[in-house]
């Protein structure tokens, strides 16, 4: 179990802001950290990793990672970290980046196959595309089989197909290596699919925690006011969270207007 009780002064988007986090994470738990840009998510991960100073204490099981007087070095924490800007080793190829962390060839191959990077394994990482870099960063973090996996928006640069696939496989690894995980994400479906618990952060504080369901359903975003994108035969095309839907409408509605929509999904079959 990880017990976090830290404070740190930050410059927020509305002036000075205190990062105050007092939370605990269970062993093997998957926590998704969400929250607006500049809320302090990255800073929290960095404090957990011992990369940034903060007041207060962090306990992992019975060992104290930090108190007000000393900090255990990042080297001794066995943490896998996906940096928001990847932070790959520019002087190395894809596979060298992974081998630098761990020499496990079988795992390396598995990860490269999973992330579709096999053909790029000998390429220098500087020449990769954004999404390719992000995948290397993810592989590198998992490669370490860390006790604690910290990921800062690890899928942000990927297309939705790849995202979905990796999401499932990440869950597998999470269980296989029993990695306690904290992941920053803005994507609702990621939270549902992955999170045991979601923390919602605002202005440096965790203002809400619970299951993805609990946290997300309470959000204002839930109100299904959507823009009418197209009108055709008394049907309006709207887009709800990326899904294109057709709704029957009366004639008073025009394109661009916002309408309230309730979703009534129904099951068709439970086998493909």
């Amino acid at each position: 179990m990880i017990q976090i009780d830290i404070q740190k002064k930050l410059h927020g988007s509305q002036g000075k802001m205190d990062l105050i986090v007092n939370q605990s994470v269970n062993r093997g738990e998957f926590v998704v950290l969400m929250g607006e840009s500049g809320a302090g998510k990255t800073t929290l991960l960095r404090v957990l990793a011992g990369l940034e100073e903060a007041k207060g204490s962090i306990f992992v099981g019975n060992t104290e990672w930090q108190n007000n007087h000393k900090r255990v070095s990042p080297q001794q924490r066995n943490i896998g970290f996906v940096f928001q800007d990847y932070a790959l080793f520019d002087n190395m190829s894809v596979e060298e980046n992974l081998f630098f962390v761990n020499n496990d060839k079988a795992l390396l191959n598995e990860l490269l196959v999973m992330t579709e990077l096999v053909a790029l394994r000998r390429r220098n990482v500087q020449g990769l595309s954004g999404g390719q870099k992000q995948r290397v960063a993810l592989c590198r973090a998992i490669m370490q089989k860390p006790k604690l996996l910290l990921m800062d928006e690890p899928f942000s640069a990927l297309d939705s197909k790849m995202r979905k696939r990796l999401r499932t496989q990440l869950k597998d690894f999470h269980q296989r290596f029993d990695m306690t995980t904290v992941m920053v994400s803005h994507d609702a479906s990621e939270m549902y699919a992955l999170a045991d618990r979601v923390w919602r952060m605002e202005q440096g504080k965790i203002i809400q925690e619970g299951t993805a369901h609990e946290v997300l359903s309470s959000q204002d975003e839930k109100a299904h006011y959507v823009e009418v994108l197209k009108l055709h035969n008394a049907k309006a095309t709207v887009c709800i969270a990326g899904e294109l839907l057709e709704v029957e409408v009366n004639n008073k509605i025009s394109v661009g207007e916002e309408i309230k929509v309730v979703l009534q999904p129904c099951l068709y079959s439970n086998n493909k």
């Binding site: 066995n78 002087n91 630098f100 590198r140």
Partner: protein, 224 residues
Amino acid sequence: MDFVPFWISFKLAALTTFILFLFALPLAWWLSQTASRTKPFVEALTALPIVLPPSVLGFYLLMALSSHSFLGKFIEDIFGVKLIFSFEGLVVASCFYSLPFMVQPLQSGLEGLNKHMLEASYLAGKSKFQTLFQIALPNIKPSLITALIVTFAHTVGEFGVVLMVGGSIPGETKVASVAIYEMVETMEYGQAHIYAAVMVALSFFVLLAVYIFNHKQKMKMGML
């Protein structure tokens, strides 16, 4: 044509560069990572050996290292090495004089590094030492090459300190730069021209080899 001076020059420059690299690297690393208040003082101190004229610096080194001095005596007693008028002494003096040329480019290179890259290495469980050699240095190649080349070239060209501390003893401390200097002094200009030409040519090819190697490597990395 006597090639011994060139050989001594080369040996001296190579050794100085090597030893200095070992000493300057931790210093440059510390300077690049610290936020300490003493940093500017250490930085200023590091640059000082260049502001004294070489032969004056040589004079002070002569005093400091001679068997009459405490330091010189100490080293002589402990290691059994005489630091004056010996090749070993030249190495020590050159290291002292060329220190800034090694420290400064390394430091500025290390300061320009992406900090997250180093942190990623720490998180992978690598020590500062491993991180320095496997991550930091390979990623500051241009600065590293500048440091090595400027130090090497400068040691080859230096003669003020070397002449003072070494005493121009043939086969031992008479390096090429001193040999050429003496030829000019004795007005054997013809000889001097030849030696200078050889020195410039040799240096040029060494430098060219380094740069071409570096160029090729870069191309390879970008393309493959």
